[in-house]
């Protein structure tokens, strides 16, 4: 079964008015042999049309994304893991906070383990995941993503494992070298992992996605940093000034991004404002932008740590909703045939019913 969604049709049932008019027509026809004036609108009218102004009966021209719910979750997990790897390397380089380095390495490693599982379970033929690694295809963002994720998971895992070995069996230079070098490689691939998902959906035929091909990588990067910081703070690193600063920067960027999306008011961007996708994108934007930013600032002034924890939870939920919202917006955008067909904004009535023509 092909799944072509039917365009929205008015759900019209015979009403008293049209039934009365039909009875009138029948009487008139019986009495005079002819009928004058307008008839009644049939159920379902006005019917969709195939014209240069309406497209082909309003049937969507593009196919909707066929990804499962695992994909937006993967965008979230991968984004957070990638950013956590960067945090691990930066903290390792610039601070003495060994616990933060350890936890950031582990957040990256665990994310690097969950992500492939999510990606594989989305595939129509999961046993063929490795087919993505039979080619190295620069022009396919999905292929680049598979390679990036494979490399990231390896490096993040190695780095966390080396960290564990060091903690269990004491300092050893080779282990430390392995930890730090794979940590650097994990943060390099992690930066790609956190941003490429924006390219992945930006470089598609879905209008609302490719319209944001430039802003999506930034948006998703900020979202990834925001969630990585929040996870680490909730793991007990709420005394880290660096994390708080980074969280504020990411939230501030999300405020800017939310405003930019809110101001893009053309037809392409309707899915970001209207319907289910609009609600999710907005909720995600508010929860990952202004809410955590305000809470963090207030917490910084008053020293109220509870507010910072609320900010973390808001950022996490907001980041997850952002990914779900964007995928949902892709669905809504694919169903809107007006944009890819470049249909006129206002459709004038060009077709008359036979009754109207007869009159």
């Amino acid at each position: 079964m092909s799944r072509v969604p039917l365009p929205e049709m008015p759900d019209r049932v015979p009403d008293q008015h049209s039934e009365a008019r039909l009875a009138e027509i029948r009487r008139e026809a019986a009495e005079r042999g002819t009928v004058s004036g307008k008839g009644a609108l049939p159920i379902g009218a006005p019917f969709p049309k195939a014209t240069s102004e309406t497209g082909y009966y309003g049937i969507p021209m593009l196919k909707e994304p066929q990804w499962t719910k695992e994909i937006p979750v993967y965008f979230f997990v991968g984004g957070a893991a990638g950013a956590a790897a960067v945090v691990a390397s930066a903290a390792n380089l610039l601070t003495d906070n060994r616990d933060l380095v350890r936890d950031a390495r582990w957040v990256a490693a665990v994310g690097g383990m969950i992500s492939p599982a999510l990606l594989i379970s989305d595939l129509g033929v999961p046993s063929r995941f490795l087919n993505m690694l039979r080619v190295f295809k620069l022009q396919s963002p999905m292929n680049m993503g598979a390679w990036t994720l494979t490399a990231f998971s390896t490096f993040a895992g190695a780095s966390a494992f080396a960290n564990l070995v060091r903690q269990k069996f004491g300092e050893a230079l080779p282990v430390r070298l392995i930890e730090n070098s794979s940590g650097v490689l994990a943060s390099l691939t992690g930066m790609v992992l956190s941003t490429y998902t924006g390219v992945l959906i930006g470089a598609t035929a879905i209008p609302v996605w490719n319209d944001h091909a430039v802003s999506l990588p930034h948006h998703f990067a900020a979202s990834g940093v925001n969630s990585a910081v929040s996870i680490l703070e909730l793991l007990g690193h709420d005394d880290s000034r660096g994390l708080n600063l980074l969280g504020m920067a990411a939230s501030a960027f999300e405020v800017y991004e939310g405003m930019e999306l809110e101001l893009s008011r053309d037809r392409v961007n309707e899915p970001l404002h209207k319907g289910l996708s609009g609600s999710i994108v907005r909720a995600g934007g508010i929860l990952s932008g202004p809410v955590p930013l305000a809470l963090r600032v207030v917490s910084l002034i008053t020293g109220n740590m509870k507010m910072r924890r609320v900010a973390c939870w808001a950022s996490l939920v907001g980041s997850l909703l952002t990914r779900f919202g964007w995928v949902q917006a892709g669905h809504a955008s694919a169903k809107d045939h007006r944009v890819p067909l470049q249909l006129p904004e206002k459709v004038k009535e060009i077709r008359k019913s036979s009754h109207e023509l007869a009159a």
Binding site: A50, A203, A205
Partner: protein, 271 residues
Amino acid sequence: MNQGSTQTNGHRTTAFFTDSTLCIGCKACEVACKEWNQISEDGYDWSSFSYDNTMAVGHSTWRHVKFVENPTTVGLGGNAPGQLPSWSFSSDVCKHCEEAGCLEACPTGAIVRMETGAVFVQPDVCNGCAYCVVSCPFGVVEKNEEDGRAFKCTFCSDRQKAGLKPACAQACPTESIQFGEINQLRQHAEDRLKDLQAKGVDDAVIYNPVDTSVKGIHAFFLLRGDPRAYNLPPQPEVPTIYQKKAWTSAAVAAGAMLGATLLAFLGDNRR
């Protein structure tokens, strides 16, 4: 046209020319395609739009006859107001783009260009990632949720290899679906257009978006009226064109991410 220019490795580049002015809407192409390629049925759903109950090409529909009901007021074929409306039929199919979005996007290399110029999904390689679905500017390729893999028109590559016409072209009773060497067919389409125009059919157009990033299609159409009424986009773009700016943006974002993280921890040292 120089026929030799399209010879690639001894194979000729082939194409479909669907002349919708000859189409009678019999759907023999849909049936022949399903029979030859053994595609599953689409279900018995009524669309309530004209006599078209298939509605679009998809994983189980590789040929799809569109039924465009022309308004009486426009007047095709001499229709005067008050007369019955007329129909325009057109058999839709995968366009086998010169720059194919699905082929570019496919992460496994399952989608390949055949020696005939056809864009082909290798069913033994496809892993059902569904990235081609969102990369097709014509909404053609679709994942079969039950099977797990993506499917679309194969251009009857198996039949072509045996020197046969694709099943739809073979079955078409009015030669609305024509199959042949691409340049000859393009020339034929131009001749047919001129012929129609000479006969006073002034709304006939050839749909072949050569001026877009798709750079032309291997299944082009002759239509009456605006292609948009047939769900054909005026400006299809291969999504690859968005990649340069998207990757550039990703690189900047990655740099900003690294810079911000380093800056944040710069003041956080030696607690």
